[in-house]
């Protein structure tokens, strides 16, 4: 696990391997979406078109929830996009690593950007600062080319045979476990811990803010906290 991936090819396979366990999460999450979409009255074609065009589970579930509540069209679209606004932050955070890739690579990276591809890639880039652009690109596409088909297959399975799943299976709570599994290894310094705490407290305090904007407020506060604590730690230890 500790040798740096150097070529595009070895990085691609490493990305795919490190993305592997997330099959256990992404597939059930896809099923949840497929079940909910069909129950809400989507056709199979609409369900699959939605899951392939948006490729964003949380936003898709939000949109369907609001459509079921007969919310106005503009509110459905804007709220679901607000759930995805974190992707713009991910995009900014990946740009220093991947910004020199060809435009069509970056467009494809954009389409394939989900929490798992982003978090695993950004952790790999932190771990192995010597990775070349080709290696970084390879790793990203390695994770993505595993997660995408699994997500689409999960949605299809949920839409077609989802009604056969007994209701006591806690499919949904696998999702928070998977996300929190990525958090522990991120807590490398005091600054990271402080940012994570502000993120949690902020998200809870601002959770009543409409249109999912509370998360964005919490995230910005947490990023500022991380940067300030880092600056403060550097000042205490100028040699570091």
């Amino acid at each position: 696990m500790n040798t740096a991936p150097l070529t595009a090819r070895t990085s691609y396979w490493r990305g795919m391997r490190e993305g592997g366990p997330f099959i256990l999460i992404v597939f059930p999450f896809g099923i949840v979406f497929g079940v909910v979409a069909i129950e809400a009255g989507f056709s199979l074609t609409q369900t699959m078109a939605f899951t392939i065009s948006a490729y964003a589970g949380a936003a898709q579930l939000t949109a369907i929830q609001l459509m079921s509540e007969s919310a106005p069209l503009a509110i459905v679209i804007l709220t679901a996009l607000a759930v995805n606004a974190r992707m713009a932050m991910y995009s900014a955070s990946l740009a220093p690593h991947l910004g020199k890739a060809p435009m069509w690579h970056r467009a494809l990276m954009g389409y394939l950007m989900v929490d798992q591809t982003y978090a695993l890639s950004s952790m790999a880039y932190d771990r192995f600062p010597q990775m070349s652009l080709a290696a970084k690109t390879g790793y990203y596409f390695g994770v993505a080319s595993l997660i995408w088909p699994v997500w689409v297959a999960g949605s299809l399975a949920g839409a077609v045979v989802g009604n056969l799943i007994p209701s006591w299976v806690p499919l949904g709570f696998a999702v928070p476990i998977a996300f929190m599994a990525m958090v522990g290894p991120m807590l490398r310094t005091l600054a990271h811990v402080a940012a994570a705490l502000v993120s949690v407290i902020g998200a809870l305090v601002f959770s009543p803010v409409p249109y999912s904007l509370g998360l964005l407020i919490a995230a910005v506060l947490a990023m500022v906290t991380g940067a300030l604590v880092e600056t403060w730690m550097l000042r205490r230890k100028p040699s570091a």
Partner: protein
């Protein structure tokens, strides 16, 4: 998000459904492509890079916190089994520095705790 929410059937027309599908697809792509497209070869100032370093740890805990900590509709407090499973997941992650170990520890502890206490 535990049991999939029982959504009522929508009243939306097929046209509107396709508008949502198209708009969410396009809008999400633009959000994702935004900075990758615009920044390109330009270098960002150190202060901005310092902020962006904390993006994952600033977004992901907050994204999940309400689902984990706020009580589900109809219950009075957070579910202790889920809180314990999440705590084990994070602690194993901090200790092992390994996502896969944390994930396995979380899923196993959720299953065991639900079986023993549930």
């Amino acid at each position: 998000m535990d049991a999939p929410p029982k959504a009522q059937r929508m009243t939306m027309t097929a046209t509107n459904t396709w508008i949502v599908i198209g708009a969410l697809g396009l809008g999400t792509f633009l959000l994702r492509f935004s900075f990758l497209a615009l920044l390109g070869k330009r270098e960002l100032p150190d202060s901005v890079l310092r902020l962006l370093r904390y993006t994952p740890v600033a977004v992901i805990p907050g994204l999940m916190a309400p689902q984990i900590i706020l009580p589900a509709t109809g219950s009075t407090g957070p579910d202790p089994i889920r809180l314990a499973a999440v705590a084990i997941t994070v602690l194993v992650g901090v200790w092992s520095k390994n996502v896969i170990s944390a994930l396995i520890a979380g899923v196993v502890s959720l299953a065991l705790l639900s079986w023993v206490l549930g």
